[in-house]
Assembly symmetry: C2
Homo-oligomer: 194 residues x 2
DNA sequence: CCAAAAATGGACCGTAAGGTCCACAAAGGG
DNA sequence: CCCTTTGTGGACCTTACGGTCCATTTTTGG
């Protein structure tokens, strides 16, 4: 037996506790002691469940957080079938990041675990999936004739992903969602042919 | 006299040495010893010229690097007066960031100095100036009738800035400029009304 | 019920890294 | 030419933090 019920629970508690900490006010640099304190665990437990140490733990947290990103955009992201739906999605994205404020848990994570193998993979998988959803939405609108077929759905989806990333990054340093909204609106206008 | 000629030179050498280091292969976390080694200075000199320690030094480096960002886009960025000029600018941006590769000196800097007062200010000033240049370009094209006047120049300029930021961020984790190009092209197409 | 495996607590260690101090060298300026 | 200011070298200090170890408790499975 590798992990008992209790063991799985503890492991999960560590991941979620770390995630909570990262969503807090002062992320900066997470230390194992921060995580230890917030999760009520001991050093040995962290290394017991994450033999690879801090790096492995942070990567697990990144995976956990990256799942939330797309979930928070649902159900809108999965049903971009009308202009109204696009607007709802847009608003959901803006609301989500406005609520998150200057703290981007994933961003903090990536800056701490950035170079390691696996980090790029996590972020890459997220971006790919994100882009696929948007591309899917564009293609459906093209099928119904609401978006001209001459547009490259995949490439525009990539533009959305990059635009959102950038908007969020600006948000992190400026505290305002203005750039994010401007980018989303510009790209949606472009889809509409306005 | 606060700083002699020799003093100014040393101070500058420290800043530029740090910048060189950040542009190198393994930025991750800069340490004062890294900087000391690459600039051939001693600890006391660093603290002599930057009494605020690491934070003040890194902020100075960030200011130094942030100047390079717009310079590297000149003269194109300052003369967005025709569609050909926009394309040249687009290519210059892509080329610049492709050459930079996965290393974004400013990005590394911001992740290390992010929370401190002054950091946001440096990045904010850069983004504002960048946006102003682009807005200016859009307005000139509107004046000549090549861009429809119904478009909000300032907001679209913000979209460009955010889009580039995001494209570069994706580049940092994926190593590809594809997203960056997709975003720039989408926004330029939108300006063109394509 | 008992031995083996898993979970937990926490003292302890090693080191990297920022920062301090002080002695000495080199300009500067009157 | 000498005194004051500025520049430089580098030993040293302190702390934070990742990681190790082992003793103890709890759970598991036969």
């Amino acid at each position: 037996m590798a992990l008992t019920v209790k063991g799985r629970a503890t492991r999960q508690r560590i991941i979620e506790g770390a995630a909570v900490y990262l969503r807090g006010d002062e992320p900066g640099e997470v230390t194992l002691d921060d995580i230890r304190a917030i999760t009520g665990t001991s050093k040995s437990q962290i290394f017991h469940y994450f033999p690879g140490g801090k790096e492995e733990l942070l990567l697990a947290v990144a995976r956990h957080e990256s799942e939330r990103v797309l979930e928070d955009q649902q159900p809108h992201l999965g049903a971009l079938t009308s202009w109204a739906a696009w607007e709802r999605w847009r608003d959901a994205v803006v609301a989500r990041y406005r609520a998150q404020g200057r703290n981007c848990p994933l961003g903090s994570l990536m800056s701490q675990v950035g170079g390691t193998p696996g980090a790029a993979e996590v972020i890459g998988a997220l971006l790919t999936s994100w882009r696929a959803h948007i591309r899917h939405g564009i293609e459906r609108m093209q099928a119904t004739g609401e978006i001209r077929p001459s547009l490259d759905a995949d490439r525009l989806a990539a533009a959305f992903v990059a635009g959102i990333q950038g908007g969020v990054q600006v948000l992190r340093s400026s505290g305002s969602t203005w750039h994010l909204e401007a980018t989303l609106d510009a790209l949606i206008d472009h889809l509409r042919g306005v």
